[in-house]
């Protein structure tokens, strides 16, 4: 399927990278410039990257160690929000306690082993803090690279994106999987049973579909993730649960209708009639004859749905009801959309990452559909 398509290979490679980041990304601590520079100061992209040479050349005293240029004092160019005379600040290498995060990942993977903070090892906050300080001390002597710059809160954009991959991908994977599963079961059953069950299912699907996807998801989250007291905030975990649940509700009728239509194409085929005439039970006809034929075509749609869900998640964040902790692609975008004019890089990066991911899922979905069409034509 992928053999003759360069685009398909690129898409598969990108999705592989995304999955890799989703699995291993959270091992990477989110790099931060430090607490002291927290007032909407952004680091521009490509600051202090070894392959480009240090951009803040007035500060960087370069000394060559093993072929690459490194700065003895980590120099970061800061830009004040109102853009009067870009103030440049050097971070003192002794100031380790004030800084919260660590340097960029490609630097520290070369120099030090990252502290493996996995979900099954319980590390208390103190230990984490000590790890961070140690990590910072080790990166202080080498070079900080802000490949994609930082946000107004001093978070490194690249590491925030990599960290957010897990949330973004798991939201879409879980909701598409659950929604697809329930939708397919309902759709196929109603196509097989026909009669009043089919009519009621179709009516329910149509009713839910008559409210546009985003409006329904928006309303569901707003209603179920509203705190009792308007001044309270909802915990991120419950927000996440509600978000996934509403996306599932939105997806069920869409995939249910497609699964129903797909199942209807197969139900009157001769081989189904044949197995019915030899006395096969409804259950075995459904599982052995119909579902294996319907699932591949649903599979292609699932890929397309994955892309749609990522966009909906981002839109909901922008509308202010999604995640807002900057911990997923959409919420990173929403959180920083106010800085658009002065620091466009915080917007470009998540948008490009989301766009690449959606292009990839769409491309793969298309390829699967095309290869299915060929198979269909042969039958």
């Amino acid at each position: 399927m992928l053999k003759n398509s360069v685009g398909g290979k690129i898409a598969a490679a990108w999705l592989g990278l995304v999955v890799f980041c989703a699995v291993f990304g959270p091992l990477l601590p989110i790099a931060k410039v430090g607490q002291t520079f927290n007032d909407g100061l952004h680091v521009k992209p490509f600051t202090n990257c070894s392959f480009m040479g240090p951009l803040s050349h007035d500060l960087a005293r370069t000394s060559s160690t093993s072929g690459t240029t490194t700065t003895t004092t980590p120099a970061i160019e800061f830009v004040t929000p109102n853009d009067i005379a870009p103030a440049t600040t050097a971070m003192p290498s002794t100031d380790t306690t004030a800084s919260e995060g660590a340097g960029s990942e490609d630097v520290f993977t070369e120099n030090t082993a990252p502290p493996m903070v996995t979900s099954d090892t319980i590390v208390d906050a103190e230990q984490q803090e000590r790890d961070r300080v140690a990590l910072l001390a080790s990166t202080q002597t080498s070079e900080r690279c802000f490949f994609l710059g930082t946000t107004g809160e001093g978070t490194d954009v690249l590491s925030a994106i990599i960290n957010g991959t897990r949330t973004s991908l798991s939201i879409s994977l879980i909701s598409v999987f659950l929604g697809g599963l329930i939708g397919c079961l309902l759709g196929i059953t109603s196509a097989y049973l026909r009669g009043w069950f089919d009519r009621i299912m179709l009516l329910v699907f149509n009713i839910i579909l008559s409210i546009p996807t985003l409006v329904l998801a928006f309303a569901l989250i707003a209603i179920f993730a509203t705190p009792l007291n308007p001044s309270d905030t909802v915990a991120d975990s419950s927000r996440l649960k509600v978000l996934i649940a509403s996306l599932v509700i939105v997806i069920i009728p869409q995939l249910g209708r497609i699964a129903r239509a797909a199942a209807l194409q197969w139900i009157n085929r001769d081989f189904v009639t044949a197995s019915r005439s030899i006395g096969a039970s409804d259950f075995s006809i459904l599982t052995k004859r119909i579902i294996p034929n319907v699932v591949p075509s649903i599979f292609a749609i699932l890929f397309l749905a994955l892309g749609t869900v990522i966009v909906v998640e981002g839109s909901l964040s922008l509308l202010g009801v999604g995640l807002n902790n900057g911990n997923s692609w959409g919420s990173l975008l929403a959180r920083n959309s106010g800085d658009l004019v002065d620091y466009p890089h915080v917007i470009y990066v998540p948008v490009i990452v989301i766009a690449f991911t959606i292009i990839s899922t769409n491309k793969l979905g298309d390829l699967i559909r095309a290869s299915l069409d060929k198979r269909e034509a042969k039958i």
């Binding site: 009516l203 329910v204 149509n206 009713i207 839910i208 579909l209 008559s210 409210i211 546009p212 996807t213 985003l214 409006v215 928006f218 309303a219 569901l220 707003a222 209603i223 179920f224 509203t226 705190p227 009792l228 007291n229 308007p230 892309g307 990522i310 966009v311 981002g314 839109s315 922008l318 509308l319 202010g320 009801v321 975008l333 959309s337 658009l340 004019v341 466009p344 917007i347 470009y348 998540p350 948008v351 989301i354 766009a355 959606i358 292009i359 769409n362 491309k363």
Partner: protein, 316 residues
């Protein structure tokens, strides 16, 4: 007679879906946590709160509360805001911007997509065809809020030839109105342009293989006439169905785009109402959005019958 009957069935189906949708919303709204009567009047006594709850229908069951809402809607009472004011005047100002946005988007999408689709079907397999389909595929994969933010930044702020955000009604000057609408419409139109072009191209390539095209060719008709009269017209029905189906996406997209471009339409109002927990207003807004979506789809269904006589005879 037959036709009237099928129209009647169609109409009753639409009414049923609409009733179901509004009922669903009214059930959902009741799930809002907390006592709404306390929101309206925080210092109310127990008796006052009970009468407030009675007035809002909160002490009734789902069905009778829904019936109350429905009968009020038909009497022209569209509810009120908990923090003061009626919903109707806000609705009157919020509907035009959203409708204009969606209407312009459909026009732009169709005027761009039809020539593109016809040309790439006519020149299928050429460099032009491949370039168009790849470009449109990539562009349509960019989330619309991303396109909106970047367009408003680059064209609106950096280049500065168009205002980056805002809205002015037509009455305040036609040119200003359209200048402000260009960016949001462009943002919204990219996805439908891609869908329509792809569909039209596929449909026209199918139609070009039909025997009647061969007949027309052998009659010596010009390519142009064949393409437009014999191929485009039957392909239009798919395009129209797709236009109706894309309406849901457009309404959802319009919500986000309105917020990005600061247009005081339904999306902005809905977001505001949800933020303030104006549950009466939310119910009315969602009902209107569903009404619009369903009505548009039914109109397209009827129109397809007019454009394509084949479906008419098949139905009868």
């Amino acid at each position: 007679m037959k036709k009237a009957q099928s129209l009647l069935i169609r109409f009753s189906q639409v009414a049923l879906v609409l009733l179901g949708a509004t009922f669903l919303v009214s059930i959902l709204i009741r799930q809002l946590p907390g006592d709404v009567s306390l929101l309206i009047n925080p210092v109310a006594s127990e008796a006052e709160r009970a009468s407030l709850r009675h007035e809002l229908g909160l002490d009734r069951n789902y069905f009778s509360a829904y019936w109350m809402w429905l009968s009020r809607m038909f009497q022209g009472d569209f509810g009120f805001f908990i923090f003061g004011g009626k919903v109707l005047p806000v609705l009157k100002t919020a509907i035009p911007p959203t409708l204009q946005l969606i209407f312009y988007t459909q026009i732009v999408a169709l005027t761009v997509a039809v020539p593109l689709g016809v040309t790439s079907a006519y020149k299928q397999g050429t460099r032009f065809d491949r370039f168009t389909s790849t470009t449109l595929f990539s562009l349509s994969s960019i989330p619309n809020f991303g396109i909106g933010l970047i367009l408003s930044l680059i064209i609106g702020v950096k280049i500065g030839i168009l205002p980056p955000s805002g809205y002015k009604p037509i009455s305040e000057g036609l040119i200003d109105h359209f200048r402000l609408m260009v960016l949001p419409v462009l943002t919204l139109a990219i996805a439908p342009i891609s869908t329509y072009t792809r569909l039209l191209r596929a449909e026209m390539i199918g139609a070009l293989r039909e025997d009647y095209v061969l007949l027309a060719l052998s009659k010596g008709l010009s390519d142009r006439r064949i393409l437009l009269r014999h191929v485009l017209r039957p392909s239009c029905t798919t395009l129209m169905t797709s236009a109706a189906l894309s309406m849901g996406g457009l309404i959802g997209g319009a919500l986000v785009i309105e917020i990005i471009f600061v247009i005081p339409g339904m999306g902005t109002q809905l977001a505001k109402a949800i933020g303030m927990r104006e549950f009466l207003a939310i119910q009315t807004y969602v009902a209107f959005i569903a009404l619009f979506y369903i009505t548009f789809n039914s109109i397209i269904d009827v129109l397809i019958g007019v454009v394509d006589p084949r479906t008419r005879s098949r139905r009868a």
